[in-house]
């Protein structure tokens, strides 16, 4: 049994005291980060990456810490959705629809426990799915040549732009912006400098961590300054926590369905957890016989999006690890972590560094149980975190970002660049141009160009080489569909209105 041997290897890595402690710390940090409104998983992971380097962690340890933060944030995101009607992170938005009304009825505790259990089901099954599917996909990925990789990158950008954004032109601009930034610096195949404007600071290109922390964390500070830090008062009070067994059992099928949908959504490169929770909620609502409860605190409306978004979080790790193409904003940040650690994700990772992959998977299995404990019996503790006012939280985030980036390079130029990206992120947000494609462009731009150029070297400049294998053609078709289909589906895929406070 290959799988069991691999798992044994994984657990032998995961059960060392350091790794275990890191997974635990990651879960706690992640839940806090997820629960804090305005500090989503991508922000949280982004500002922690530079610190994990200065801490001197090795590849497996850093990856375990950050992925536990990622999983934890997915769990924690629901806390502020339910208690404040503000999603702690983007994928938790659908949880506000039924979670907050249920909390208003004085059943905040029930909603938190139910969603915690749903998160657990989704995340655990998705981790098992990751365990089973990733090695298979890694074997398929061996058949990928440069032409296939080019098509795959294109597919990621198309689905991300098509599904993740309301306006394709704006998404395309975001992608081009990211790809353009990736071109700055020394061209790897000829050694020429491009677009540096003669500045020595830019010869190495722009460090993607600087861009990520700027676009996510620093931009968030500006958004909060504009909004005056309002929306941060606690909405409902939390009574004693008890376990609503009846509702958990009643929604068990909902959770399983939502997990499946979420996992598949997570697998799509460029789609991610937001799509997972959205589809899970919409499917559950449209398949329910009695729809009247939805939007008013229906338990199914809480279980479905939470199971969906946590399953998608696990699913999104599959393309990230096997193909090096992230499925969401946060997995893009995790990819940045891998690239900085000098680990190339892809099929070779599974054969050459099995301890990294399987150690990660085993740690995630453990992390899920830790998170269940943190998020069900101890949820009351974490709900206190919501009372931290933005006027303390955001300056803290800023300072952590600065010190993190400063500790990486020690140059004030990177800090200025980060502020620049923060301003850019704010302006983009105002213009509703999505920031995630920019990040993905910066991360993948170099690889995309290299694969295109290699393909052209192999074919001696013949463009039809890009379409010469069934896999490549399939990916091209999927890319075109991913880009165009949402145009027609948009009228069907409208998000329901969020619950409004009457008082």
């Amino acid at each position: 049994m290959d799988l069991l041997a691999n798992l044994a290897l994984g657990f032998s890595v995961a059960l060392t005291p350091t790794t275990l402690a890191l997974a635990l710390a990651g879960c706690v940090l992640g839940t806090i980060i997820g629960a804090l409104p305005g500090l989503g998983p991508s922000n949280g992971v982004a500002i922690l990456i530079p610190l994990s380097f200065s801490f001197g962690l090795d590849a497996t340890q850093a990856l375990v810490l950050m992925t536990s933060v990622y999983y934890g944030a997915m769990y924690g995101g629901r806390i502020s959705s339910i208690l404040l009607n503000i999603p702690g992170d983007e994928p938790a938005m659908m949880t506000t629809l039924d979670g907050y009304p249920m909390a208003k009825q004085g059943r905040a505790g029930d909603a938190l426990v139910l969603s915690g259990v749903a998160s657990f089901v989704g995340a655990l099954l998705a981790t098992i799915g990751l365990m089973l599917l990733a090695p298979v996909l890694a074997r398929v990925a061996f058949m990928f040549g440069p032409a296939e990789y080019f098509a795959l990158y294109l597919l990621a950008f198309c689905t991300l732009g098509g599904i993740g954004s309301a306006n394709q032109a704006k998404a395309a601009i975001a992608v081009c912006l990211g790809l353009g930034i990736a071109m700055i610096g020394v061209d790897s195949s000829t050694g020429m400098t491009r677009f540096t404007g003669g500045s020595l600071h830019l010869f190495d290109g722009i460090d993607f961590l600087v861009a990520i922390v700027g676009l996510f964390a620093v931009a968030e500070v500006f958004v909060f300054i504009e909004s005056h830090g309002r929306d941060s008062a606690i909405g409902v009070t939390l009574e004693k926590i008890r376990i609503p067994i009846k509702e958990i059992l009643a929604t068990r099928l909902t959770m399983l369905r939502a997990t499946l949908i979420g996992f598949i959504a997570g697998l799509l490169p460029g789609a991610g957890a937001s799509l997972g929770s959205f589809l899970a909620y919409m499917m559950e609502k449209s398949s329910a016989r009695d729809k009247s409860g939805f939007g008013k605190g229906d338990p199914r409306g809480i279980a479905a999006p939470e199971a969906g978004n946590n399953a998608a979080a696990g699913g999104a790790l599959v393309p990230m690890l096997t193909l090096g193409v992230p499925g969401s904003g946060t997995t893009a940040v995790l990819l940045a972590l891998l690239m900085t650690l000098n680990i190339t994700p892809g099929p070779l990772l599974f054969t050459e560094r099995p301890e990294v992959v399987w150690g990660l998977i085993a740690s995630l299995l453990i992390a899920n149980f830790v998170l269940l404990i943190l998020n069900v019996p101890l949820v009351k503790l974490f709900s206190r975190i919501l009372q931290v006012p933005a006027a303390i939280l955001l300056p803290g985030v800023t300072m952590v970002s600065f010190v993190g980036i400063y500790s990486l390079s020690g140059s004030y130029f990177d800090l200025l660049l980060m502020i620049g990206f923060g301003v850019l992120g704010y302006v983009l947000r105002k213009l509703s141009i999505p920031a995630v494609p920019v990040i993905l462009g910066i991360l993948l731009g170099g690889h995309m160009e290299v694969s295109l150029r290699r393909a052209m070297v192999l074919s001696d400049g013949d463009w039809t080489y890009l379409f010469n294998s069934p896999i490549a053609i399939g990916l091209w078709i999927a890319a075109v569909i991913g880009c165009i289909a949402p145009l027609f589906l948009r009228s069907y895929l409208k998000a329901p209105k969020a619950h409004k406070d009457d008082a």
Partner: protein
């Protein structure tokens, strides 16, 4: 209107990027595509997308009022000064001032902001220096001797 202006800026930048790419010299031993082609491809896509934005703008976003805008400007200025000050002035003083200033921009009460700045500065210094082992200097180096 914002979308039209942005679209215009994007298109102009795309043209500039295209021009910049086409100026690159082809090295003698280059691959069939060379270093120009991919940047030119990106620029073309960006140009088209920019034009689409000019022709089909979305609804106008809600821009901040002049007062809010000046608060944002102050915040950016504070951060830029912080970036320059971090090395020569040590960690504690610039961090306290910058954190306090940002806090004041979010919630303008002087006492709370000062307290936030000082506490964050000391708290983070202890965490970074002794918890994570980063090499930070608390005070300006000329004071430390």
């Amino acid at each position: 209107m914002s979308d039209r202006i942005t679209g215009l800026i994007v298109s102009v930048l795309a043209l500039a990027f295209f021009a910049g790419a086409s100026q690159l010299e082809m090295p003698f031993f280059a691959d069939p595509l060379g270093p120009k082609a991919f940047p030119m491809l990106i620029a073309s896509v960006a140009f088209v997308a920019g034009c689409v934005m000019v022709l089909r703008p979305d609804a106008e976003p809600e821009w901040p009022s002049l007062a809010t805008f000046s608060r944002l400007l102050i915040a950016v200025l504070v951060l830029v000064l912080y970036a320059h000050g971090l090395k020569p002035l040590g960690f504690l003083l610039p961090t306290a001032i910058a954190a306090g200033a940002i806090s004041y921009q979010i919630r303008p009460t002087f006492r709370a902001a000062t307290l936030t700045g000082v506490c964050l500065s000391f708290g983070l210094f202890i965490i970074f220096k002794y918890g994570l082992g980063l090499s930070l200097f608390a005070l300006p180096r000329w004071l430390m001797g």
